[in-house]
Amino acid sequence: MTNPRELWQEAFDASSIRNDKFQTMSGIPLEPIYGPEDGEFPGVYPYTRGPYASMYRSKLWTMRLFAGFGTAIDTNQRFKDILKSGGDGLSTAFDMPTLMGLDSDDPMSLGEVGRCGVAIDTLADMRDLFADIDLGGITTSMTINSPAAVLLAMFVAQAENAGVPRVKLGGTLQNDILKEYQAQKEFVFPPRQSMRLVRDTVAFTAAEMPRWNSISISGYHIREAGSTAAEELAFTLANGFAYVELARQAGLPVDAFAPRLSFFFNAHIDFFEEIAKYRAARRIWARWLSKRYGATSERSMQLRFHTQTAGVSLTAQQPEVNIVRTAIEALAGVLGGTQSLHTNSMDEALALPTERSARIALRTQQVIAHETNVTHVADPLGGSYYVEALTDQMEQMAEEIFAKIDEMGGGSMLEGCIVGIDENWFQGRIADSAYELERAFNRGERTIVGVSKFLEGNEEDQMETLRITNADEQKQRQRLASVKQDRNESAVLDALDRLAKDAVDPEVNLMPALVDASQVYATVGEMMNTMAGVFGRHIEVPTI
């Protein structure tokens, strides 16, 4: 048996290393990793200290900035700016109607078109969104869940029309429907029918899109909705186990799709707890994939994650101070070994970010990456008595929650997650934790600078924020009307007809029908309504 250091050394030697001087400012040369011979190592099971042996010495994290507003043409401009100023991945924010699978001309879309993201109705919008961007040369992340299969189909259709075959497309679909019922609440179909669509996207990408990550299992929204760090960790990984069980049920070998699962965590303001959370997440995932699900490929066991700083930690008061909060949170993500990072802009408790504030958010990452030298040594906090103890404690708390979910599911995490949603268990725990935090703030136990203390400066004029007018909504409705006028109506009806037929048979994969419907300019709303005709719609019972 080779010892962990030898395993690490072997993996490290096989890694390509960035051209950089790995030393301190005073010239002290730095090892890529520090620790005892028999301890844990990055790139070595259970990966507590990082998924890769060389971590940021090989590749810095991807500086992925989430963007999208107004029409596809506006967002395309922002995408090009991001690529020009050194960002290397695109992350698409869709507007509320698109997230809910509605068209811009739906009565429920009133006032929401292009507000929180870009409005996509048809393939024509997808074409505008990625105009003059080489989809084979960058990675694209799409934050979409209920209509994830529809938007993936449209993306594939657009790329292929632009001459980029689907095998070349790299990126990530959020496609994490379980946390929608638990936390973010952008659901359309009932849970089990939604899971069928997840299965279809997982199977489709496993077969045809080797560079695509089919699900980004997201704790971010669970945390933003009010959970604790331990609940974020446990609910997210439990959802991950549920998707693993789903794909196994569909007959996919675990090592064929587990490498395509990635995670998305929050970076909140409790610095060390966040770092412990990331470390515990890697260790738990590796152990469960290996022990419970029988994975043998390293890639299946290596948890990789995207991080976003905590939107809820931002304040509307003295918004410039948010730059500081975001920098600290981003640093936690980096010290925790994130593969990609989004930093929030200082004005996001007020509105969508301006170009200037989004640039400062990117600069924050660049300072951490290029000025601080924190990238030289993997898992720099590993071995700290404190961080190691906290890591163990996060792991233990998560295991207690897994036991409860497993029990709810009668030995299945997939069933446990669905039952927990049906019984309002996740939702109730998140709401309880949110209220507990609020009460701590109201009791004066939690200080928020500029809100509960240190208020001098609050009266100064507020900063200019981005204004989005209803003109975009009008423009988008007109755009949709003209696309509908120009398309071949009977081709659309045929495509939707086939989609409905395919939806009835749970054994059929819906992706081919969705790609074909996209190609003839069926709208997002038409495809979703067609499926809702078969699947039904989910209604949440309101509880306080």
Partner: protein, 138 residues
């Protein structure tokens, strides 16, 4: 302000439109309830019409809207209009993410109170009481 002063108050808290962010509305519902106010929650994805109908049917003193998606300028005035169209005069309070440059127009559209991020429990309860008493600043 004591809990008993609030006991006669009934508040409808609502999510209108497509915005599913329900952390704020639930926290506010619980803290109003803990302050002795009777709270009814509509649930997600309501329209201005369904909110107005519920407000009138439930005979509430105040309607609280939680809005974080940027649709407040369109939807909040429609809620006020829908309530008035039913011959009622129930004050509407908004909480959530509302940029400063929108405040004046929302007041002009008949919104009684607007609560920004970070408002403590005491301020939320005060705003609801002012709205109910008709003593909100115009």
């Amino acid at each position: 302000m004591t809990t008993s002063d609030n006991q006669s108050l009934r508040v409808l808290v609502a999510k209108v439109g497509l915005d599913g962010h329900d952390r704020g509305v639930k926290v506010v519902a619980r803290l109003l309830r803990d302050a002795g106010i009777e709270v009814i929650y509509t649930g997600l994805f309501q329209t201005p019409e369904t909110v107005a109908a519920a407000a009138v049917d439930e005979d509430v003193d105040v309607v609280g809207l939680s809005m974080l998606s940027g649709a407040h300028m369109t939807l909040a005035p429609l809620v006020v209009q829908a309530i008035r169209a039913r011959g009622a005069d129930i004050p509407v309070v908004i909480g959530g993410i509302v940029p400063n440059h929108d405040l004046e127009e929302l007041k002009a559209a008949g919104i009684a109170e607007i609560l920004g991020p970070g408002a403590p429990a005491s301020e939320v309860v005060e705003a609801v009481r002012r709205a109910a008493a008709g003593t909100s600043k115009v």
